[in-house]
């Protein structure tokens, strides 16, 4: 092979390698969820309303059987995202439409409402501060931001109901519980939130799959300055 041939062979190989690396980074390494921004929707200092729902099976995408959160963006659309951007030091009023059924908690400690305004949450309008997960339909998920000590059990729906929601996004026609609570957002930063109910079906300890994948049962509260 000539000098030019060898040089161009090398350059082609180099280009292939660089291309493969860039492709890998773009495709496999940076699929961060879409950020849903709540910072511009209301006056500065006014409370932010955050409406989310949990569904037993997302029904679409790469993992249709996985349990997941969805969030209603300021425009009223249900979005499959778990990264929510909120302003700092602001009251956040959270409404959770819980469409998933529940079970006893592995650690009943997470049945304790913690870190919310007033230390309480409400289930379909009834205020409570401790939920016995061995009762009734148990707890489906918990919404917890461990680094700021927030934890709210999200009570499960009756699994034997005839109108359980099978695929996201669910509408209020299906059986659901409405949970409400408020908390004050901390200073700027990215705060991981997660669920403490082992709800990853088919995984050891129930904590694999959706529990271990961002955009399903975990995400960030992206607090902007």
């Amino acid at each position: 092979m000539s000098f030019g041939g060898r040089l161009s062979t090398f350059l082609v190989l180099l280009a292939v390698a660089v291309g493969a690396a860039v492709y890998a980074v773009v495709t496999f390494l940076t699929p961060n969820p879409q950020v849903v921004d709540f910072t511009g929707a209301q006056a500065v200092g006014a409370p932010v309303d955050l409406t989310v729902q949990t569904v037993g099976a997302i029904g679409f995408g790469k993992h249709p059987t996985w349990v997941s959160y969805l969030v209603k963006d300021p425009g009223g659309q249900w979005i499959h995202s778990t990264v929510w951007k909120v302003p700092a030091h602001t009251r956040i009023n959270v409404t959770v439409e819980q469409y998933d059924s529940g079970s006893p908690l592995r650690n009943q400690q997470w049945g304790l409402v913690q870190g919310t305004t007033g230390g309480t949450a409400s289930l379909n309008g009834t205020t409570f501060s401790v939920y016995n997960s061995y009762d009734a339909n148990g707890v489906g998920h918990t919404f917890a931001i461990p680094t700021i000590g927030l934890n709210v059990p999200l009570v499960g729906v009756d699994p034997n109901a005839t109108n359980t929601c099978g695929a996201a996004p669910c509408t209020t026609n299906y059986v659901h519980n409405v949970m409400r609570f408020s908390f004050t957002s901390p200073g700027p930063g990215e705060y991981p939130w997660q669920c403490f109910v082992p709800c990853g079906l088919g995984f050891l300890y129930g904590n694999g799959g959706p529990m271990s994948t961002i955009n399903y049962m975990g995400g960030f509260l992206d607090v902007a300055a």
Binding site: L105, Q109, V130, P146, L201, Y205, G206, M211
Partner: protein, 320 residues
């Protein structure tokens, strides 16, 4: 260490030694001066600030242990560096009139040097192993997890047991002597011997109370015990130091060592305020059998009651 370096006489063939500088003594002099300066500098200036500090008995002892090791290690490092630096400068091929090296048996092997080397390294190593063992035993396991059957137990008359429960991805704490309430806060009394009983509800975590110098892996169904005695008041960091999945990096919290009376009132207060939830918790046990299946349909097809008490490892109910 440097005295193990090949001595000039060992390598020189019979001949006039006067022209040759006394390499060994030169190196030895450089080494002894450097060591004599740097070792005390480290020990007295840096040593008192070496992590993990002196907040507990295990922290203080482990800091001392680190400093002793460092004071021994530094001269060893210096010996090699001085030797390497000296050789590179003195015996480089580019220097003026660099002589041809002399080969032969004398350059291949030297019993005195080899024996000295092996003796010195063995003495250092055996001393360190002995010293480490002494520190480990007289320090009641040095703050490391001793498993369910600790063999180096503190002799204090009052030991406060604190159970650490690792779960993906948060540590929670139970205080068996206060009715077994569970909390996310880790508050400890000062001047008290604490027995941490570390266990897990799912995968392996590691409870690392950094300033307390406590590290114990949390295994499901295993009661891993570590001891220390608190000495100073203040905040400390708890991190998980065994990769446990998605939020491993976020699995931390801050604890506090407070005066005894303040601890007692905090504990009694929390016992009262969490009483409603404590009633719902499983009875206190040293280990729990987590449900390997999780909620609903699981990986394995049988069912085990979640979070049920277990009798494994000869669980002892604490005296309340």
């Amino acid at each position: 260490m440097t005295d193990t370096a090949p001595t000039p006489s060992a390598h020189q063939p019979a001949g006039p030694p006067s022209a040759e500088p006394r390499h060994f003594w030169r190196m030895f002099a450089i080494w002894i001066v450097l060591s004599a300066i740097l070792d005390p500098l480290f020990y007295f200036l840096v040593g008192p600030h070496v992590p993990p500090g002196t907040m507990t008995s295990s922290a203080a002892e482990n800091q001392l242990d680190f400093n002793i090791l460092f004071v021994i290690a530094l001269p060893v490092i210096l010996a090699v560096w001085v030797y390497l630096g000296y050789s590179i400068i003195m015996w480089r091929a580019s220097r003026k009139d660099a002589p041809e090296p002399v080969g032969g048996e004398a350059a291949r092997t030297n019993l005195r040097v080899q024996t000295a080397w092996i003796t010195v390294t063995s003495v250092i190593v055996l001393f360190l192993a002995g010293f480490g063992t002494y520190e480990l035993i007289q320090n009641y396991g040095a703050g490391g997890g001793q498993g369910p059957n600790p063999i180096w137990k503190p002799t204090a008359s009052h030991i406060l047991p604190v159970q650490v429960i690792g779960q993906q991805w948060k540590f929670t704490y139970r205080y068996p002597t206060y009715g077994g309430f569970e909390t996310q806060q880790l508050i400890l009394p000062a001047d008290t011997t604490i027995a941490f009983h570390v266990t897990s509800l799912d995968v392996i975590h590691s409870f690392w109370a950094y300033q307390l110098s406590i590290k114990a892996d949390a295994n499901p169904q295993v009661d891993n015990v570590a001891y220390t005695t608190t000495r100073q008041l203040g905040r400390f960091t708890v991190r998980c130091s065994e990769l446990c999945g998605l939020w491993h990096g976020a699995m931390y919290n801050f604890g506090q060592v407070v005066p005894k009376a303040q601890f007692d009132s905090w504990a009694r207060q929390t016992e009262l305020t969490t009483a409603a939830n404590t009633r719902l918790l499983p009875p206190f046990a040293w280990t729990y059998v987590p449900d390997a299946n999780g909620a609903g349909g699981g990986y394995y097809n049988n069912t085990v009651d979640p979070y049920s008490p277990s009798e494994v490892y000869g669980a002892r109910q604490p005296a309340s």
